[in-house]
């Protein structure tokens, strides 16, 4: 009887201590694991961006193979939301409530992200690097949301400035996707044109479902544009440049990071993309490559890119996965998260992690320099990690010719 009582006492003590321990442990963190969630379209019209999540997955596997972070493995849970906000919300809730994520990383698409933003922020769950350059993530800033992607309005600023100041072009036009992405590019272009003492000669909206670009090209031709900014999807860039060529309209085409996968763009435009000028946020360091020099994405000069190519992509990507900007971007978006986890140490809590993220200064992975600041509800820049981009040009053999060093952009959002 006495022996039985001792065992009951031991069991109760263990339960009490166990409960106390569990109550103290952070959600999504165990002794050996850190659970990180991510969504991304693997099917549907936006599926070409599915490589982002697969890039992150290969990166986490590489980190785990190197011993993890402070003895813990990164457990990556990613699901296909088909770029459908309803599916994003359902998937995030399911993973968060059934398994429990410590934090979320990346997440392709403004609309899918907006569908879960309130859910994550209300529960104070960290979300690092939404994979779009929307100002929505930082205006107003949220304590647990750390954006990385430079705003599309910044891309537009540097492209307009380059066209006007370096190329001496006067008649600049824009085609923009009729949504948050394109409109932010439009605002950036308008502001910079005002600074240059000019006005855009044409502002042509493109709907995502549009496949016929003839009316768009006719409007651009009528405006006699000699440079055209394209804030659209890669498929629309191919259609615009192709239709332009067929209609004998060949201005200086300029585009943004979203359409900056030069080998892919060269392939789908059958070479017409050559000469296109693009704003880039990373994957090569213009200072390391040198202005006027050419970078081959399959033979990167940046040591870190080389490491990811050999240790993440070659070892952990699926056999038919293509190494390119989209895949590498999946790695880049997760770098600040990993840096924050490393800084937070073994005693990992969300509060401690946020504090360490706020302390990141001039951190450079394969994108530009990343800076965060302590939370200030009136300062969007406290949660916008990168605000510099550089300009390059697509060469005929599918490489990047670096045209400028990093250029700091101004914060521009809708009025």
């Amino acid at each position: 009887m006495k022996k039985k009582s001792v065992w009951i006492l031991v069991a109760i003590t263990a339960m009490v201590f166990g409960l106390t321990f569990n109550a103290m442990a952070e959600e999504g963190v165990t002794d050996t694991e850190i659970h990180i969630g991510q969504w991304g379209p693997q099917t549907g019209p936006a599926a070409p961006w599915g490589a982002v999540a697969r890039g992150t997955d290969a990166y986490f596997k590489m980190i785990n193979a190197e011993g993890g972070i402070h003895g813990r493995k990164l457990i990556h849970h990613y699901f296909d939301d088909a770029y459908n906000p309803a599916k994003t919300k359902a998937g995030v809730k399911q993973l968060q409530e059934e398994i429990g994520m410590f934090a979320w990383v990346s997440g392709v698409g403004t609309a899918p992200g907006m569908a879960v933003e309130d859910y994550l922020m209300e529960r104070k769950i960290p979300w690092i690097s939404p994979s779009t350059g929307s100002a929505h993530w930082v205006d107003p800033p949220k304590k647990q949301l750390f954006a990385l992607y430079p705003l599309y309005s910044g891309d537009a600023q540097v492209l307009v400035r380059y066209a006007a100041q370096d190329m001496g072009l006067k008649r600049i036009a824009i085609t923009y996707q009729n949504d948050d992405y394109g409109k932010l590019g439009l605002v950036g272009a308008q502001k910079q044109m005002t600074k240059e003492g000019m006005k855009l000669v044409a502002e042509i909206p493109v709907n995502v479902a549009d496949t016929d670009m003839k009316p768009h090209i006719m409007a651009l031709r009528k405006a006699e544009a000699d440079a055209v900014l394209m804030f659209v999807t890669p498929g629309h860039v191919a259609r615009l440049i192709g239709t332009g060529k067929a209609m004998k309209f060949e201005p200086q085409w300029m585009t943004t990071t979203t359409c900056g996968d030069v080998p892919l763009m060269m392939y789908i435009t059958k070479g017409l993309y050559a000469g296109t000028i693009l704003a880039s946020f990373g994957m090569l360091d213009p200072a390391a490559v040198g202005i006027g020099n050419v970078e081959d994405v399959n033979n990167p000069t940046l040591p870190l890119m080389k490491k990811y190519f050999n240790d993440a992509y070659k070892k952990y990507a699926a056999k038919d996965e293509r190494w390119g900007m989209t895949f590498a971007a999946g790695i880049a978006y997760a770098e600040p998260l990993v840096e924050g986890l490393r800084r937070a140490g073994r005693n990992l809590t969300r509060e401690g992690f946020i504090k360490q993220m706020e302390g990141i200064r001039n951190f450079q992975g394969i994108m530009g320099r990343v800076n965060y600041k302590p939370f200030d509800p009136k300062d969007p820049l406290c949660r916008l990690g990168q605000n510099e981009v550089f300009i390059s040009q697509a060469t005929a053999d599918g490489k990047y010719k670096v045209l400028t060093d990093w250029i700091k952009t101004d914060y521009v959002n809708y009025e």
Binding site: G44, P45, A47, P48, N178, D212, M218, A219, T243
Partner: protein, 291 residues
């Protein structure tokens, strides 16, 4: 004036691919009395087959394209034989759901097998070259599409008018019971109709593919072809063609002179207007069932 003519010509050029899709839909509507929402994917799968034959097997276009067209005929016949015919006493709604289901299956098959990446299709003529008629441009691909569409329309007209199978098809469409009593194997006729419809759609797909190959490439042409068919009348082949050209031209005029932003939706505004004024479409006879 030049801009206006250029807009009209561009509308006609894009209307040609809508017309082919519309023709395919009307053929099936007449045979099976169902708006065929798998029409786009019946073209999509053969396009990817052509891509594989050209890129992976290195076949020349003069072998790859005919082989693809033959495949498309078999695909259409197979879908009718294996799925549509198996539906037990189907009503129109049931058949529509079946075609939507087939659409999802074929789209899923293409996305799973070939991935979501955009691709460039090798094609004998460049989709970026153009010729000038006075001051007006037309791309060689658009011109080819226009010519091919006209040839197919002519061949279909001759086929239905003069060939034995064509007449049997018309008979089956008009009165299936009477056709069966006359010794026509109506099931087989319906299957052949699906095959021909798939062939026509495949031609449209192969002419759209040189610009960009991707899993969702046939969605917009299918919807616009459907819009054209509804405008012209779902039971009239010339109506579907005429309706598709109307959709193409109106869309371009609206985009050029009113608003590019709402260019894509104007086709559906045209549908609403036509259905309000002539519910059977511009060219189809309005049947009233007498009791």
């Amino acid at each position: 004036m030049i801009d206006f003519l250029q807009t009209i010509l561009s509308g006609i050029a894009v209307g040609s691919s809508y017309a082919l899709m519309g023709l395919g839909m009307v053929l099936i509507y007449k045979a099976s009395e169902v708006p065929n929402f798998v029409q786009g994917e019946m073209a999509l799968l053969p396009v990817f087959v052509a891509y594989v034959l050209l890129e992976s097997y290195g076949l020349p276009p003069y072998i790859a394209f005919p082989a693809t067209l033959v495949f498309s005929i078999f695909l259409g016949c197979f879908l009718e034989f294996a799925i549509i015919r198996r539906a037990k006493e189907p009503n129109v709604l049931g058949l529509i759901i079946i075609t939507i289901g087939m659409e999802m299956m074929l789209l899923g098959l293409v996305s799973w097998k070939f991935g979501a990446d955009q691709r460039a299709m090798p094609f004998p003529i460049s989709s970026y070259d153009s010729i000038m008629i006075g001051d007006i441009f037309i791309s060689t691909l658009d011109l080819l599409t226009l010519v091919v569409a006209l040839i197919i329309m002519l061949v279909l007209f001759l086929f239905f008018r003069y060939s034995k199978i064509g007449v049997a098809m018309k008979a089956t469409q008009q009165n299936e019971n009477a056709a069966r009593l006359m010794g026509i194997k109506t099931n087989r006729i319906r299957m052949v109709t699906w095959g021909i419809s798939s062939f026509v759609g495949c031609v449209a797909g192969l002419l759209i593919a040189p610009i960009l190959v991707e899993p969702y490439m046939m969605w917009d042409p299918m919807l616009k072809g459907f819009a054209g068919a509804v405008v012209g009348g779902m039971t009239s082949l010339p109506g579907a063609v005429f309706g598709a050209y109307i959709v193409g031209i109106v869309e371009h005029l609206f985009g050029g002179y009113v608003s590019i932003e709402f260019k894509s939706v104007v086709a559906f505004v045209v549908i609403v207007l036509v259905l309000c004024i002539r519910p059977s479409g511009l060219f189809a006879r309005h049947y009233v069932k007498k009791v």
